[in-house]
Symmetry: C2
Subunit: 395 residues, 2 copies
Amino acid sequence: MAKIRVPGFQFAGVACGIKKSKKKDLALIFSDRPATAAAIFTTNRVKAAPVLVGMKRIRRGMVQAIVINSGNANACTGSKGVQDAEAMCRQVAFRLGVDPKLVFPSSTGLIGMPLPMSKVRGGIEKATALLSPQSFSQAAEAILTTDRFSKVSSTWCNIGGQRVVVVGMAKGAGMVAPRMATMLAYILTDAAVQSRCLQRLLSRAANETFNCITVDGDSSTNDTVLFLANGVAGNRVIALGSKEEQVLFEVAKKVMKDLALKLVKDGEGATKLVEIRVERSRSVADAKKIAYAVANSLLVKTAFFGADPNLGRIMAAIGYAGVRIEPSKIGVSFDRVHAVRNGIVLNANERKASRVLRRPSFKVCINLGQGKESASVWTSDLSYEYVRINSAYRT
Amino acid sequence: MAKIRVPGFQFAGVACGIKKSKKKDLALIFSDRPATAAAIFTTNRVKAAPVLVGMKRIRRGMVQAIVINSGNANACTGSKGVQDAEAMCRQVAFRLGVDPKLVFPSSTGLIGMPLPMSKVRGGIEKATALLSPQSFSQAAEAILTTDRFSKVSSTWCNIGGQRVVVVGMAKGAGMVAPRMATMLAYILTDAAVQSRCLQRLLSRAANETFNCITVDGDSSTNDTVLFLANGVAGNRVIALGSKEEQVLFEVAKKVMKDLALKLVKDGEGATKLVEIRVERSRSVADAKKIAYAVANSLLVKTAFFGADPNLGRIMAAIGYAGVRIEPSKIGVSFDRVHAVRNGIVLNANERKASRVLRRPSFKVCINLGQGKESASVWTSDLSYEYVRINSAYRT
């Protein structure tokens, strides 16, 4: 695979000893010029220190550097945690000669432990010295915790005759390993984009991608999706409501969906990627509620793991989702195999359904027979491995 | 242990072949005279046929017999299912010489399969012939599915100088085994109670007992709690708002709490019984929301299984419960060991905390530092065994 590059951005990923495994644990992303920035943060009321600092940064709408450490979430660490996150930014700013207010911090890893600042300082020194346009994959590796593989994605499009690149990296779906908590994603483009336009674009795309996945239903203290647009491509600045906004939205969504599905595939202990699609619902919100109830049901997820087409559990989850439904109108199918019609389980098709559930990836389609709206949520199965990973006391 | 008896009630529990295991699968509870009846049903919008019939029955406020089959939930079976539930009632009524409208049906087991009515008919015939005041435990056994043990409880009190007995039996917490869905409970007393008083008493007591437990957060299509009061004790009928209502409420709550905790202890794969107590909350509703978020978090439950005092996961669950909290005011303790103070994790106490988590039963106390209200929820841990039970395809 060719190296991922995006004009005007440099990267570094180094190991500085925060992780006992000696794996890479500090990443740096640097734009040659201040970039328009938009972000989405965890809705959790317990927010990690870097999230609190990041929320302040994003108000100005400009970011030039991102510093991310893995192995320690800097969460539940009180005011000391905020000071540490600020100190990380100051050091990066000093080394790169930029305003500290243009440096955005992220952390992921153990919750409730103070950041080992001398190690972090060593890492920042090393990383700033190694910055290179070619080191995207090193940075993508350094943000991982217990992920089994790096999640990266890249694409391009034409905007006003100008070639524009959109790339992304992400880590960890749900709250990942013992005390490792976070979904982080960084989307970068060389397009020039108006600040408000970038935020709307990110929110819309996240709504159809990162906000449609679940591994264990736990939302973390550190979740952050950051989108930077540095304008190096030289296109006319993309404005709110323009045709170009829609073009960039589509490619950004493509990158984000690619990353989101990779997050689910790498969900803890996941052996299957399952799309829960709800159709003919009265509203998109209703469809999403039902899709999430099914996607988060432990009983449904363990049945997926066992390739058991357990319609009773799916019907029960539809029933407790809190949406006004008409049980006798419901149809359910697995890929193309019909399993429920008019609310009644079709036992004759059970073997065929079970064969679908043995596939590494399949779609559960729920037809409510009510309205015209639909929505999808992507989930994983629940395996022994999930319990093993999450019950193992860290040593 | 002495046999459980309650004046004026007879019982039977037989095997009629609904379960392949040949275990008991049909229970009958019969009151010598029509009893005042109150009930609570699943809030799931997909309701099993016997629940639909039971809801109709309870409107009249009187029940004389309960017929329960296990091994088949008679859910997602369409109008045929309702006809079958009605037919069960009619047969019991005919054999016992009572009005079919006084017979209340329940089912628990596989969802989506038609009831094997010839077997059910054989079972009813056998059970009606075996009715006896001494067969409480046989009936309690016949309502089980994959429960590891019977859940029964019994107590008594004085009401106006009259000794009054309250007993109960229950099965299966959450949605129990593959396609086995249901929490069923039957509370019986020989006290005479006004109909509206009995319903209020049941609702209040369930709110503090059955509605405070969770195993996997999945609510079933068949959940039913039924309370019968046959008045054989001869006390003055207990009226709404009387002193006697409070006395009966306390003993009924005791029986129901005893059953509720047994349900959690016997939760699928459970190795621990954990009380999640939330204190100093602004409202009881807020306290319950937070307690449930913590009690249902897969990450918290797997950490309990591994005896990992993972405060990050608990803090994260508190944060996403949807309640306005002040993270810096939160305290968390395990039994008497303080683990979080002012929102900051006390790493020094980690070993002590881990020792608490190795106990078969312990309390997690979350102090929000906001108001004066509190609430408890009881939960189990999440083990390999849960995944094994629920992923195994029934053969």
